[in-house]
Assembly symmetry: C2
Homo-oligomer: 338 residues x 2
């Protein structure tokens, strides 16, 4: 039960001011009085108002995490890790879903200008980096999952192009030549997808395989349903692939479902690689080969950036560009292909 200073003062037979001095740790109270007041505070279960206490330090103790959607397993896993890492720093995470909507991102950033949060982690963002940092109004911002930050804010990501090249090279090493890429989003300025496409094309070029535009399949969103639709289009379009590199595990799982339903044997008829290392990939039938970003390190490094900026705002350290490790976890969906 939360009691108020007035109740405590009445019970302890002192002024509200004295209770306030005890609560704030002021030296201005006789030891005997302090002990009596503290006893009453304990008895009544008094807790100082958290919001007011934080305000006094000029900080809210809140860190914002803006992600396109919580129900996406990749972002859900990442949000969980950010919340854990934040708790270790006694921060609470306020999570906002932007649905990749520029207006939602703008509103959110303007909210941070109002100082609801001490810092903000945002991934990925539809509005440009200039507008982004202008909107944030001096609150430290860390960007995830996008490389073209123009040095305007700290940035944490895997090397998307390299990871995509490795995933494609793995399929090429297994003898695949008609490798589809599922996940372009031409209607969005999705930098991550661009980098993954670059990596895919680089691998093909290095292997002397001409890219086939019919095998580069755009999607509306990055969900299972979009991957399923893309796979159906590939199967009915006559541009039959012998492998698929999907830009997210969700896309890959949708494609895998359609391939299975169409009677294709995976990996014999079709090898599949995803990206994100979500838990679902491990338990797919068959288990999905995937690029696994070190999500724990993404969360850790992003919070470390915020902590450094919040605690030493004026050090003049230029924005950091932090690349975290990834690995390709080979499973049954490509087994025997290398």
């Amino acid at each position: 039960m939360t009691s108020r200073l007035k109740d405590v003062a009445a019970r302890a037979g002192v002024s509200i001011r004295t209770v306030s001095n005890v609560v704030s740790g002021s030296a201005n109270v006789a030891e005997e009085t302090r002990a009596r007041v503290q006893r009453v505070l304990d008895e009544l279960g008094y807790r100082p108002n958290q919001a007011a206490r934080n305000l006094r330090g000029g900080r809210t103790g809140l860190v914002g995490l803006a992600i396109p959607e919580l129900h996406s397993p990749y972002f859900a896993e990442l949000a969980g890790l950010v919340a854990e890492a934040a708790a270790q720093r006694s921060w609470t995470v306020v999570i906002d879903q932007t649905h990749g909507d520029p207006d939602a991102e703008r509103r959110l950033l303007e909210g941070t200008g109002g100082r609801l949060v001490d810092g903000l982690i945002i991934s990925p963002w539809s509005i440009g980096p200039e507008e982004l940092t202008a909107c944030a109004g001096g609150v430290p911002v860390v960007l995830l999952g996008e490389r073209a930050t123009h040095g305007l804010a700290d940035h944490v990501a895997v090397d998307n192009a390299l990871a995509a090249e490795e995933a494609t090279a793995h399929l090429l090493a297994g003898g695949r030549r008609r490798i589809a890429a599922i996940g372009l989003q031409p209607h969005l300025s999705n930098g991550t997808a661009h980098h993954r496409l670059d990596g895919y094309r680089t691998a093909l070029r290095k292997a002397g395989v001409a890219p086939d535009p019919a095998l580069e399949v755009p999607v509306r969103a990055l969900h299972r349903a979009d991957g399923a639709r893309a796979m159906s289009d590939l199967l009915h379009g006559g541009a039959r692939p012998d492998a698929v590199f999907a830009f997210t595990d969700e896309l890959a799982l949708g494609a895998l479902h359609v391939a299975g339903a169409a009677g294709l044997r995976v990996p014999q008829d079709l090898a599949l690689v995803g990206f994100d290392g979500i838990e679902d990939a491990r338990y797919a039938n068959p288990a999905l080969t995937t690029v696994v970003p070190d999500k724990r390190q993404i969360a850790e490094r992003a919070l470390q950036c915020l902590a450094d900026r919040i605690h030493s705002p004026a050090t003049g350290v230029p924005p950091l560009d932090i690349v975290v490790p990834h690995c390709l976890e080979v499973r049954a969906s490509t087994a025997g292909t290398d």
Copy 2:
């Protein structure tokens, strides 16, 4: 950019007090002065401190959502829906992961006693309802996913026993008789699991099938890995089931993975039903039959309860027990079994 009252006062040539009066809308300022100060406020992009503004109204504008883990797809989907419904009420959601740990739940509730949030939605909780409401210190609390609330707080859930009975009856109608139940958690006071077990046993009893303790498989947690382990135990234990009712979709997907790897045909050799209606279930190979709770309605009703308690704290309305609808979505993992 966020400016401080001091900067505004200097630029407008007035006292900080006058700026403060303008910001707070006090009547105590000459119209000409007010206009001048407001112009400077606009020029400098001043935004009132959100936390302070909320404090003045006695509210923080934050609603807490405490869930065992964000990376679980069910809770991630639910959290997404709660965040959406909260945004419609101009609330921001603070999400906390408890990992089902009683101490974490206690800390969280004691935090709400300190009034970081205006209200709290918590699901599921390891500590008992008496301790729960005592800890919350007057902040409205809504419980999800557990029925034994003893009328101490508003409560929103599906009818877990009925839904489990329907899922089991669906398998029985398809001629299955050796139906395993995966998902008891004897080491936790997991009320939800108890209700699902009750429903499973009720269906067996009504069909005249004697329950076989060897088919009731306990799990440590509710993840794919636990479902995989339980399925392995069943396959190697000699108590071969012809169907599985798993208490979560994640458990079911783990079991499905092991069944597939063992060469069992689903549903011919083994029919499977899950619970939660997560997106992954739809795209499993084969697609998973599952009990689908109306998660959007869970989120809506929980926030409506909080809104009512926050805005009319003293109406004396007794705690509500709200049952939201569910349905059994039949897919390929049980196709032909009824």
